[in-house]
Symmetry: C2
Subunit: 347 residues, 2 copies
DNA sequence: TAATAGCACTCTCGCAGGGAGAGTGCTAAA
DNA sequence: TTTAGCACTCTCCCTGCGAGAGTGCTATTA
């Protein structure tokens, strides 16, 4: 099963089988490989294919059908045989142009990212809003909505916004609220949840106590919740391109997109290391993804704000193109975000 | 085709056929209707069924199969035959309990609403964040992110939050920003986009001008975009419950959930009138929904903040239950929102 | 006149058989 | 080591057939 066991010709054949199958979705015959002018006849290719099958890279749906890549086959392809191309300059320019048109609004960027990932890869995409690794207070603001209803806005380090409504027992005017907000900002700036809690113990003002409770509570919840808002797109691609028989696969994809728990696990994986990661058929680790492949990358500013993005689709997805897109998009978003905040860039 | 043409017995039969078909998903035979003790034999029911077919309420997949409701059949059922039940008290209490546990966070409420709608109806759901009909400034806030990067937070009447990043040519400290924000608040409070633009013309301060441009621009975009954030859930229900042959229907559902344009059209429809609306097979108006039914309602506070929620699924959806859930949820959300802001309630 | 028992008719569904076609594995020769 | 040739296998598609479900029609009954 080791890579060294494959001759150059075997590699060529494996690559062709994978590429052909990704395109056609039908088992690849020895004959169809001969059209690529390898200088050998079908019989020879058959022998090699049968060897590749023994090694676990190919398999047959039934005895007299062509070959289909196994998960191991895809993995070998992705790791050793795929030509890593950059996204064509023209497409890069087109995408980045769209982003700069979208003004400086994070929400728009994320929406657009999901759309671009989905469109370019012709699969489903997902991207999480960037999130600070550490949850520190940047700013609090108190806004009077009406007599005794107050809107609390909490800005976290990294730019995440949280809003909460506060119902008071008695009315309070905007001026008092602004004054209180200013005090609290001085007090809490740069603190994490525990810091705020500790500093707030001596507070006596009724409203201040309520606000501090709300802030601490909100931050604790941000801390425990791994991922933030999630943007998705391209589900329709899956339904139009994928064989409809593969019910199981489609369900897995939707489950990934819909269930927060799944996303959080993936995001955890993505954030654990840099670069583009490719998970093929769950890679043995995840049964729930047995029928799908996922191309993942983190983006953002290391140790400051990071998010994850990815494309999810059937095993036979156009890996080369997808990897290019995900890599490009993660760099683009990293740059945009670091420009936004003036941070140093994540490689 | 008029309602009066249906005898009481025909109504009973039509109701039973629809209910049976919704449950079983297989064409309903005359024999199976006899189990409901109508006091007549299968042959009689056959005659009635054939009459109902002439009237356009039933149809047969093929000559010797049972009957299936037509769109007109569903519509008749929904309008005249369906028993409008309230959601059981127990379920009402369970749901409302969940909402009060979720603290006063709109985001959580919306998420939860989508989940409840999807779970109770066993179909896909969608809900848009409530949005002010009129877009007025409630509050602006300027927060220094670093030297010359400023976070602009714009609170609109109704509680919608917008954030924008502002890059300045030179650094500015938080104190100056706060002072500026206070001035701008006094100046702009309660104004709409045009008001802000008009008032801002005499401004000379460099930062103030930039802020005003950004605010006007943002508000204009909020004005033109019909719907705000959209929350979805329950797509998996569709895939597990629906016959998988009905590819077209599933694609239509996903298209509704994924494409903003579709959502906006539906929301427009929902907002145009109160109460729960039921769109069956596009009701002739919308080709794109030929295979699906949609149960819609608006919620919120009339003429102040309103949103739309709905359930979407195959034609054979459990209308009675779905309508109950949507009605209950729209009231619940209306109450929560009016409590939140202290507004008067929307009927 | 409305209801219904009875029966012929129609259509689907599942199964089996057969032929065509695609693709393989193996053997023997170059 | 490669390859031509051939037997073999398996799918796919078409056909035919019998069973079963359900209808429509007709003649009879209350």
């Amino acid at each position: 099963m080791d890579a060294k066991e494959l001759t150059e010709r075997q590699q060529k054949i494996l690559r062709l089988v994978v590429q052909e199958y990704i395109q056609s979705a039908t088992p690849v015959s020895s004959k169809s490989i001969t059209t690529y002018n390898l200088g050998v006849r079908a019989a020879t290719i058959r022998n090699e294919m049968s060897h590749l099958e023994e090694l676990g890279y190919l398999t047959q749906p039934h005895t007299s059908a062509g070959r289909v890549p196994t998960e191991a086959g895809y993995r070998y392809f992705v790791e050793k045989l795929m030509n890593q191309v950059e996204l064509p300059n023209e497409e890069q320019r087109m995408i980045s142009h769209q982003f700069h048109q979208a003004r400086l609004e994070l929400d728009q960027w994320l929406r657009l990212s999901a759309a671009v990932l989905a469109h370019m890869s012709q699969n489903a995409s997902l991207i999480t809003a960037p999130k600070s690794d550490l949850c520190h207070v940047k700013h609090v603001e108190l806004i009077s909505i009406r007599d005794n209803v107050v809107l609390l806005i909490l800005v976290l380090q990294g730019g995440t916004l949280k809003q909460q409504i506060l119902n008071l027992d008695y009315p309070i005017d905007q001026d008092s609220l602004s004054r209180l907000a200013r005090q609290l900002n001085d007090l809490w700036g740069g603190q994490d949840a525990n810091g705020v809690a500790a500093i707030s113990t001596p507070l006596i003002d009724d409203v201040a106590i309520k606000v501090s409770e709300l802030v601490v509570d909100t931050m604790r919840r941000v801390d425990t919740r791994r991922s933030s808002d999630i943007y998705r797109d391209g589900l329709l691609n899956i339904l139009t391109h994928t064989e409809f028989k593969e019910r199981e696969g489609i369900q897995q994809i939707i489950r990934v997109l819909e269930e927060h728990q799944m996303v959080e696990r993936l995001v955890g994986e993505a954030l654990s290391q840099g670069g583009v990661q490719i998970i093929i058929g769950g890679d043995g680790k995840w049964e729930e993804f047995s029928e799908v492949s996922i191309v993942l990358a983190r983006y953002g500013v290391a140790d400051e704000v990071t998010g994850a993005m990815g494309v999810i689709g059937p095993l036979r997805m156009p890996y080369s193109r997808t990897v290019s897109v995900v890599r490009y998009m993660s760099h683009l978003m990293s740059n945009l975000i670091s420009d936004l905040y003036g941070y140093q860039k994540l490689t």
